[in-house]
């Protein structure tokens, strides 16, 4: 299922503003990769260009090659919707569809793909909710609005919704930044389990979190405001946090830890 991702000279723009420049990076299958760095360094932009969500914003575009198992997702004849189905995404704030029930939220992606049979959907919903460690909490109220759950539950619901369509890569854009510590732990546990099946790339501000959950860590930074973000260092997480080769990385990590 999981796939390998290669970024070659990826540069992304918002209109005329260059947000990231010449990012080169390889993500191995079935690993958790953390993207860290100061605010505005382009890590979220890079994440969003991996499943072509960057170009949703008006005026935004991406240059360079991004391949998934050798297939460039920015090729002209590539179907954007297929890319996004293969590379799912979990956002910073939990965003369940407010008008839909828990069940409808989970199967929303499957319904888009034309699945209508109730039994198949029920099965898929249970599977996804179990995988997101949410089943036991919501199995008795699947018909209730998804927005009625707590923040942490909503975020796990969004993860369930994302993995219900069986993507191969899951991108997470600061998935815990809006959550309390207990929910954060629950999601981190979940990442460990999901790693067996998916390639996971996570953007986080929280360095302990990056150290806890990821196998590899990429450090992004900018020279000054207005400059494009660059990839400074990319290595095994342990190496980055114990013995980084770049001075900037060390400054950032020690600075944050105090």
């Amino acid at each position: 299922m999981a796939k390998r991702i290669d970024a070659t000279n990826v540069t992304a723009y918002y209109g005329s503003f260059k947000a990231i420049e010449n990012i080169n990076l390889t993500v191995e299958p079935k690993t958790v990769t953390a993207l860290i760095g100061p605010s505005g360094c382009g890590k979220s932009t890079f994440l969003r260009s991996i499943n072509r969500m960057h170009e949703v914003l008006p005026g935004a575009r991406v240059e360079g090659d991004l391949t998934i198992d050798g297939q460039n997702i920015y090729d002209r004849d590539v179907d954007v919707t297929a890319v996004r189905r293969t590379i799912g995404m979990v956002f910073q704030r939990p965003n369940p569809f407010p008008t839909m029930s828990i069940f409808e939220n989970v199967v929303a992606g499957l319904r888009l793909n034309g699945l209508r049979k109730k039994s198949v959907l029920n099965e898929a919903a249970e599977r996804a909710l179990r995988a997101a460690n949410l089943w036991d909490e919501v199995k008795d109220r699947l018909g209730k609005p998804g927005a009625g759950l707590s923040g942490g539950q909503q975020q796990r619901l969004c993860i369930a919704r994302t993995i219900a369509v069986e993507p191969q890569v899951v991108l997470m854009d600061e998935p815990c930044s809006a959550l309390d510590p207990i929910s954060t732990l629950a999601i981190e546990d979940l990442m460990f389990q999901l790693k067996d099946k998916f390639t996971i790339i996570i953007v986080t501000h929280n360095m302990q979190q990056a150290a806890r959950v990821s196998d590899r860590t990429a450090f992004f930074s900018i020279e000054k405001t207005g400059d494009p973000g660059r990839l400074i260092e990319y290595d095994n997480t342990q190496k980055i946090f114990s013995n980084p080769t770049q001075k900037k990385t060390e400054d950032y990590i020690t600075g944050r830890f105090g």
């Binding site: 995404m89 965003n95 407010p98 992606g109 888009l112 609005p145 927005a147 969004c158």
Partner: protein, 363 residues
């Protein structure tokens, strides 16, 4: 600020100046509002001094002001009661004088010595023309609203949205004039064409003359409510949280699927409200229909022959030569119209309210 030092010795005034000065750099409006205050409390200026305990007279001003607002609020209730009261008082004598069945009689001659008039055909015409107008306008309006909010480039969408807002403000008499002078010609051609090839369908039957028909009235009405419904639903669509749209896109939705999953469900209460507002407008529309309908009495589903009438259009047309009973009869018909629009509005509010409760209990 621009006040004399002697006046700012007043503790109360000074306090307010600080507050308004902080929050509102443009102090001018704040000072403008001051003059009615001091006129309303002639003794207020002399009160201040030590800034000690509040005086009873300040409390009196508070009471007076509160009483004033309460009176204004009560006026609204009085007006509503007066509307109902006076309309009923004028309608009842006319209804008593009606020698025909008010609900079913097909015709309107309340000025005769034996007044005969009935609301049935008018109510039918009102509902028919409004329903047709909405049937035409709503899908188109929603399409335009989606185009402006989710398909057009943002700048174009904003500019055209502004234009639509302006069109929504164009008075109905202008649309009526246009319908009567300009639009009637293509509608007549279309009617003749429909009659020639689809004359076997009753709604397109008859043998003319065509033109000033229910079809013309409904189309003009549709064009009138179109900007209103578009403007409101565009606003609703623009309010869809970006997070939900992105969630749908990230699941691999096409643009249309994103609209169906995120935009339309989220906007449903707003759309219903917009449509109902449009319906209310269409039901009460007077002048545009008085200018475009052929004015006949009789229940007919024929859309293309000259004819058609509505309660409101009938009031405008029959008012000129109405005598006392005639006016009473028109007022009675106005009451019926008011009741219909009231039912529509209350239904709309109930729907929107219930929907909102569902989402709010969720939040």
């Amino acid at each position: 600020m621009g006040e004399t030092p002697s006046r700012s010795a007043d503790a109360g005034t000074g306090g307010i100046r600080v507050a308004s000065g902080q929050e509102r750099p443009a102090g001018a409006p704040a000072r403008v509002a001051e003059s009615p205050v001091s006129t309303r409390t002639p003794g207020g200026d002399g009160l201040g001094g030590g800034g000690g305990l509040p005086r009873a007279r300040a409390f009196g001003a508070e009471r007076a002001f509160r009483g004033l607002t309460l009176a204004a609020g009560t006026t609204v209730l009085v007006i509503i009661a007066a509307i109902a009261g006076f309309l009923i008082a004028k309608a009842v004598p006319a209804l008593r004088a009606d020698t025909a069945n008010f609900w079913t009689y097909e015709g309107w001659s309340p000025n005769d010595t034996t007044p005969r008039f009935g609301i049935g055909t008018l109510a039918f015409g009102t509902v028919l023309s409004s329903a047709l107008a909405l049937l035409i306008a709503v899908p188109v309006a929603l399409g335009i609203a989606l185009f402006l909010s989710h398909y057009a480039p943002r700048r174009l969408g904003t500019a055209l949205g502004f234009l639509i807002d302006l069109l929504a403000a164009v008075p109905s008499v202008v649309f009526g004039l246009w319908g009567r002078d300009v639009f009637v010609a293509p509608v007549r051609d279309l009617s003749a064409w429909l009659n020639q090839y689809f004359g076997w369908i009753p709604i397109f039957g008859g043998d003319g003359p065509f033109g000033k028909s229910i079809m013309l009235g409904s189309l003009v009405l549709a064009i009138m409510v179109l900007p209103i419904v578009t403007s409101l639903s565009r606003e609703v669509f623009l309010q869809t949280p970006t997070a939900n749209e992105e969630a749908a896109l990230a699941l691999g939705a096409t643009r249309w699927e994103m609209i169906r999953t995120a935009v339309l469900p989220y906007g449903r209460p707003g759309i219903i409200a917009a449509v109902m507002l449009g319906l209310g407008r269409a039901l009460g529309e007077t002048i545009a229909l008085a200018m475009t309908l052929g004015i006949t009495f009789g229940v007919s589903f024929n859309l293309i022959e000259n004819g058609g009438n509505t309660i409101a259009a009938n009031i405008a047309n029959a008012f000129g030569e109405a005598n006392d009973t005639g006016r009473g009869a028109l007022i009675a018909s106005g009451l019926v119209l008011f009741t219909i629009t009231l039912i529509v509005n209350i239904t709309a509010r109930a729907i929107v309210h219930r929907r909102r409760e569902f989402t709010e209990s969720a939040a």
